[in-house]
Assembly symmetry: C2
Homo-oligomer: 256 residues x 2
Amino acid sequence: MSIPSPGKRELGLLKALLTRGGRKRSGCCRCEGLRAVEELLDRKKELVEFIVATPKAVSMINRELPNLRLLSDEELAEYSDTLNSQGIIAVAKIPEFPDSPVSGNFILALDLLNDPGNFGTIARTYRAIGGCELWYTKGSVDPWCDKAIRSGMGAQFALNVRKFDDLPTLCDNAEKAGYPTVYIADPHKGESCFKAKGLFDKSVLVIGGEANGVSMFPENAKSVMIPMPGNYESLNAAQAATVLLLESVRRSTEYI
Amino acid sequence: MSIPSPGKRELGLLKALLTRGGRKRSGCCRCEGLRAVEELLDRKKELVEFIVATPKAVSMINRELPNLRLLSDEELAEYSDTLNSQGIIAVAKIPEFPDSPVSGNFILALDLLNDPGNFGTIARTYRAIGGCELWYTKGSVDPWCDKAIRSGMGAQFALNVRKFDDLPTLCDNAEKAGYPTVYIADPHKGESCFKAKGLFDKSVLVIGGEANGVSMFPENAKSVMIPMPGNYESLNAAQAATVLLLESVRRSTEYI
C-alpha cells in the first residue's frame, strides 16, 4: 500500500496552525520534531489528526504513524517553522481541560509568561522531574503554539495543562483541589528557596512573566527567592524554574 | 562639543566583528546592549575602542561613554545583530589570557560547548553567583562572539575567561593552580550533585557540549549527575549548569 501525499486542506491547516487564530478556529496544534511527535504518540495518540513526514524521518521513528502523509525534504521544509527541520510534523487536537483530579506534591503555575521558548523549556523540565500539573493564566503565551511545543519536546502532552482567567481564580481552584499554600518566585525578596519549609507541600509555585513578574500578589501568598551572591541580574524565568524544580528533587531524594 | 559620527573604518569593523575571522584579525569584539556595555565599562573600561549609540540609548545609560559615536536608530539597526536593538554597541579589545592567580572555590569548565546562547547564559549565571574562573577548551564556541556576549550580558568581562587546547591540558593547569579534583557533569551516571561531597572544594566542574558531552574522560575524574525522576530527556547544558551552580550557593548558605 503506498503512502498518500497530504491534501490541500491538510497543507493549508499546517500553515494556519502557526497563528493563534488558526489554532482557535480548528482546535488543533502543530507538533514538530522527532521527540515531540514520539511524546504525542506515547501520551495522547487519540488526538492525532494526521502526520506529515519525509521518508527519512519515517525510517528514523520506527513505529506506526497514524494517518501518515509523505512529503519530500524540500516540500516539508516549506511547512517547517525551524531552520533545521527533523522532517516530521504532527497535527493534533489541542487537549481539553483535563477532567482527571489534580495530583502531585505541588502545582507549577505560570502567570503571564510571554516567551514560548521559556514556556516549553519549563514544561520539559517539569515533565523530566516527574511533575503533573502545569497551570497558567490567560495572557500568557499559548502553550500549544508551534515554538512552545518544540521547546517543550511535546512535554505538554504528558502534563495536565490547565488554563485560568487570572491568578486569583487559579489560586482558588488550587485551594479547592487541596493545594492551599501559594509561593511566588521573586528575584529580590522572600525566604530562600533552599530553606522555605512547605515549598513543595501541597502548594502552588508561581513563576511570573519575563518582564514584569506576577500580575498580582494573592492574599496569604509568600515570596520565595533564589539567593544570588553575585548581586547581579536575576536568572531568567526558565532558569529560575529549573532551580526551584530541581530543589524539589533534591528534597525528595535527600534521605535516599 | 558635538559628538562625531562613526568613520568608515569603524563601521567596517562593526560588521567584520560578526565573523570569527574579523575578530581574529583585529583582536576586538562587539558588545551590544545596555547591560552588556555597562558591565564592560564597570569591569574592563580600558579595553573599549569606541562606542556607537543612538541619542536615546545615550540618554538611558547616563554615564560617560568613551569615544562615543552617534548614529540614528535606522543606521544603528543596520549594524545590530538583534531584532530589537537597544541602540548601543561597544567595540572592545578581547581580554588577554588573565595573568591574575586562579581564585574561588571551584573552576567552571566548558568542553566543546557549541551554542553561543548557552555559553552566554552560563557565564551570566556563574557571574551572578559570584564565580570567577570560566575556563573552556578549543573547539567550543567563541565566548567573544556577538551572541555569546549578548546572552551573557557582558558577564565575560567580569570573569577570568581562560582558553586551553583540550580537556587534559585544562585539568593539568587546574591541578597546578591547586584545583586537583575533576567532576564531569553526566546526564545518566555518577553521584547525585546534591550529595557529592567535594563537588565545589577546589575542584574543576566540567560541562560538556550539547550534542556529545565531554571530549574525553580524564583519569581520576568523577561523574556527577542531576537526578531526574521523570526518566526523560536530560536538561540542556545551560540548565544543567544552572542547577549545579545554584547547588554551590545552597551549600554555602546552608548554615547561615
